[in-house]
Symmetry: C2
Subunit: 617 residues, 2 copies
């Protein structure tokens, strides 16, 4: 019914998006069979975000621990281990999500089925926020990788971020058809690079090059509180963003989709876990701490490979991968926005597809919001990462809770175990979300805390409006036969000319009754007479009514005349205007057409027809 | 004929300005008998600008001479004397203009009659430029007077200028009915103040307070070149701006208008001359030189009256008078613009009068341009004064040349003498214009040198366009009888709903033939079928045409269909749109209405009617 509402509230075919998998995976927005995914392909195509998070996740941990100096940094490995544990939980609960929702959809779909609208909208809102933050964070991180390699670029961080963003936006507006294949190479390359770094680092005892700011004995030995560890944990959870991507995109896999998707999910978990732990080991071995202008990953690379070709290769690969990671949001958000638009939660323009299947509005809005965030954060990835984590974990939590409901409803084999698993996930991710929000509130988390409810309320307001419009349009009901009525056409005339002639001819062919209406200024009686004379000289067989405009405003007297003369009839007002073909010549017209149009629309129920009298160049 | 062109090109009564004296005097834009002017009244009402120029004229001279140090400043008096001589010439030649053009009009009218269109347009352009510069200069000078009294305000010069400008603009948008009386008091007060300063100064031997930067013996004794003197002369001619005002406004005087106007003109000349010479005497006696932040007039006042109450009174009076001087442009330019619009040299919106007889567009444009100039010049009157002089003298010259032609044409008594007088005036003013432009070119005179031709070309281009439009509208001819033809109404439909129903009903009452047109996306066959089904279910007795939109764009196929199906018939396209009453809900609509509208207008000769389907809040 609501769906019809959409269609009827906006009765354009171009409004109605083609049926689409509930949430198509970003990279393969419209999944054609030719690029359905194998396990490896899917892993490569969909793990982009997850892998990319390796570039900022570990740094997020170290950043918090550094507050407690060397002692704190000592906890890098344990905290990472905890996150890896959470990763395992997440992976397994998402295996279950995949099994339970073979059509994909992730948190939005789960919540929609099991937790009611409000929650599903919250999930949607958190997804929207994630997509935006993913763009911002990935861009910032990519630029950070670049500036770590080429410190000369540091002063231009923000500009570089916006440049990358602009590039990605353009590419997406042009609408290149993503194929999963596109992403295999860079992802593989990046994973390979990171693993190389790890292996090389493990083999090598001493750092290849002295570390930027090694932990020194002079460090104050501070006590490391549980809260600090919790913060580090929560912050580090940013490394887990993206593990849901596969679950959102089950239908994109080759049959048997579920099995393949599950395998890919597990593989993703293993890879991600290995990389995180490996990096953590190196970080603690080399006693690396965050320094401004050089990412932790870059420092690790330096220490492991030395400051040579390898180093630069790794940095550049990272930058590219992160740019691609940002790009995935452009596949994702517009599709989500389109779904929300179809369900009447967003303006229907978001469901408008331009040439090459591009949802232009979605792309532009996403790009604009990300740009705002980047500017707000001065292009600093470490400012953005925590915000990212929040949204992601709200999503995770909702999905988990939904799954618990799901199992309770299904009561299949070992449902308690499954439910328990998801419950644990829910608790952990929920905790992470709360802690991050609390600890980062002043540093920007308030934005998320504000945006989330605002978005949800916005969705609902839009929905209410569409419903109202839908009702007004009498949805579902087959309308009765449209029947011909007598029509009155009122033609405002200011003088006698070809324009007036054509307008009246037009009106005569349209209406059963035609009235020419001349509004004369009260303070220009001479004018009025001049016009009367002109009219008499012409004497078309059309009745002329003259109204008096006491104030120097034509609109209201015309509207008043129509209101009073035809209180209960179908009235058409035909406004004829000169339309020069040259653009600049438009300024030669006056805005009388608009004035009348506005006044008539405001003051009467009449229908305004605007006839344009073309003037060739 | 052109005048009809105006009316027909824009057939709105509100377009046609009430008949007005060729160039009504600014302060009494629509001269009612009650405030026709006596000699004194006219002098007060129309000499505002001329008197005001006393505030910046002398400074303009001193500024140039100061370049040659003390020696240069010694020439202040002679240069002023030369200017006074020119003043006499101007006054007498304007007496002749008054006699020759009792309907007023000044340079524009003279040129229009005797020098052909191009020149009259040049005169008009120079007038426009003057009006704008008068606002900028007067405002800047007024603020300068203020800041000389209260140096604390100096840093806010530009802000103050814009504030004053804003105030004047608002007053003029509200449209207070100017009466000549309004201006008598302040003008008299100012003249009184300046004369007091002069008399007091002449009586007092020593300066009451030490002069800011007296000419010292240490000054290098530089040779004073003829060019410098010429520059000083040209620059000082700014003091003569405004002497034409009376000639522009003859009809505003009580009968015998010509005699009264001539007397007023002479009186103006005498007063202005006395003030200029008197100030020059004091300047040289007190060896005053320009210093930043304190106007020359302020310095003279200080020296003559001492830094007491009198000083502040004079400064404040000056500020007020200058604000009023700026205000006169707001009476003048909109009227001129209105005249040009009536002659089809400016867009007709400039002839549009709002409530209280205000030509809103003229006022706003004037204000915007002046604001630009003020910001460009950083609110420095000395940057603006030379530019002002140029425009004024172009106008003077044209008027004088026109008068020479006039006398040659009339060959009345002593016509040679009269012609000679005007010829001298023309040469002097022309020279002044050239010198100023040349010497100040780099410092902004280029703006005038650029604006003048651009304006003239603009006027002519606008004129050509209106003529073309007028011809297309078959001016003058009485059009033949408008006759009813068979009409086809095409209704683009996207779905079946109340909106569609109403649209079709509407179309049926309008057209002899109605066709529902559905554009379906090529890549959405399912959609097309769904729609067909809906339509069959409804089965209104209206033929349905379905066109295929291969690209994701509805406009062009619809336009193509109309073009091909009804190549030679009156076609109306009825676009029905939902119109929510709440403003923000407009974003819930898509722009399909506009898309179709644009495509149909571009691609066909059809007439677009847009039906709005209101949705109450």
């Amino acid at each position: 019914m609501l769906n019809t509402a959409t269609e009827v509230a906006d009765p354009e075919p171009d409004e109605r998006p083609a049926p689409e998998p509930a949430t198509a995976p970003p990279p393969v927005a419209t999944g054609h069979d030719r690029d359905r995914l194998s396990v490896i392909g899917g892993l490569a195509a969909l793990s982009l975000d997850a892998m990319a998070s390796v570039a900022y996740g570990p740094e997020a941990i170290v950043l918090v621990l550094a507050a407690a100096g060397g002692t704190g940094l000592g906890f890098t490995l344990p905290v990472t281990a905890a996150i890896a544990a959470l990763l395992i939980v997440l992976v397994f609960s998402y295996r279950q999500v995949i099994a339970a929702f073979p059509d994909g959809g992730g948190s939005y779909a789960v919540a929609k089925r099991h937790l009611g609208r409000r929650t599903s909208l919250t999930a949607a809102a958190s997804l929207v926020i994630d997509y935006v933050l993913n763009v911002a964070v990935s861009t910032a991180a990519g630029v950070a990788a670049l500036t770590s390699a080429f410190p000369g670029l540091l002063p231009y961080t923000v500009e570089l971020c916006l440049a990358v963003l602009g590039l990605v936006t353009l590419v997406n507006l042009r609408g290149i058809a993503h194929s999963a294949r596109t992403f295999i190479a860079p992802t593989a390359l990046f994973v390979g690079a990171v693993l190389t770094v790890i292996v090389a680092g493990l083999l090598r005892g001493e750092p290849a090059v002295p570390v930027a700011a090694p932990v020194s004995a002079t460090d104050p030995v501070t006590a490391v509180g549980a809260l600090l560890l919790l913060k580090a944990f929560a912050n580090g959870c940013a490394a887990l963003t993206g593990v849901e991507a596969i679950a959102n995109a089950v239908p994109a896999f080759r049959a048997p989709a579920v099995r393949r998707a599950q395998r890919a999910e597990v593989a993703l978990g293993v890879l991600l876990g290995v990389m995180l732990l490996g990096l953590a080991v190196l970080i603690s071995r080399y006693e690396i701490r965050p320094v401004p202008g050089k990412t932790v990953l870059a420092q690790v690379t330096d220490a492991a490979l030395g400051h040579g070709v390898g180093f630069y290769l790794v940095q550049i690969t990272t930058t590219i991968l992160l740019a691609l990671a940002a790009n995935t949001s452009f596949g994702g958000l517009p599709v989500l926005a389109q779904l929300l638009a179809r369900d009447n939660f967003l303006p229907h323009v978001f469901a408008l597809r331009a040439r090459r299947q591009v949802y232009r509005y979605g792309v532009l809005v996403l790009s604009a919001l990300s740009a705002l965030l980047l500017v707000f954060a001065g292009g600093q990835m470490n400012t953005l990462v925590p915000l990212f984590a929040i949204g992601v974990f709200v999503g995770f939590t909702i999905a988990q809770v939904g799954m618990v409901r799901h199992w309770r409803a299904e009561r299949g084999t070992r449902w308690r175990a499954k439910a328990a698993l998801n419950a644990v996930g829910a608790v952990l991710t929920g905790a992470a979300a709360v802690v991050t929000t609390a600890s980062k509130f002043a540093d920007g988390a308030w934005i998320i805390a504000l945006a989330l409810p605002v978005l949800v309320l916005g969705f609902e307001q839009v929905h209410r409006s569409y419903r109202r419009i839908g009702e007004r349009l009498q949805l579902g009901r087959v309308p009765d036969e449209p029947c011909r009525g007598r029509s009155v056409v009122v033609v405002p005339v200011g003088c006698v000319s070809r324009l007036t002639h054509d307008a009246l001819a037009c009106a005569l062919s349209l209406g059963d009754e035609v009235v020419a209406l001349h509004a004369a200024y009260h303070d220009e009686p001479a004018e009025r007479e001049r016009f009367r004379a002109e009219w008499e000289a012409w004497h078309p067989h059309v009745p002329l009514a003259v109204v008096d405009a006491p104030e120097r405003d034509l609109g209201s007297p015309v509207a008043a005349y129509i209101r009073d003369t035809y209180p209960d009839r179908h009235v058409f007002v035909l406004i004829a205007e000169v339309e020069p073909s040259r653009r600049w010549e438009r300024i030669l017209r006056n805005n009388r057409g608009n004035v009348l149009d506005r006044a008539v629309r405001r003051g009467t129920g009449a229908i305004v027809c605007r006839m344009r009298f073309p003037v060739p160049a």
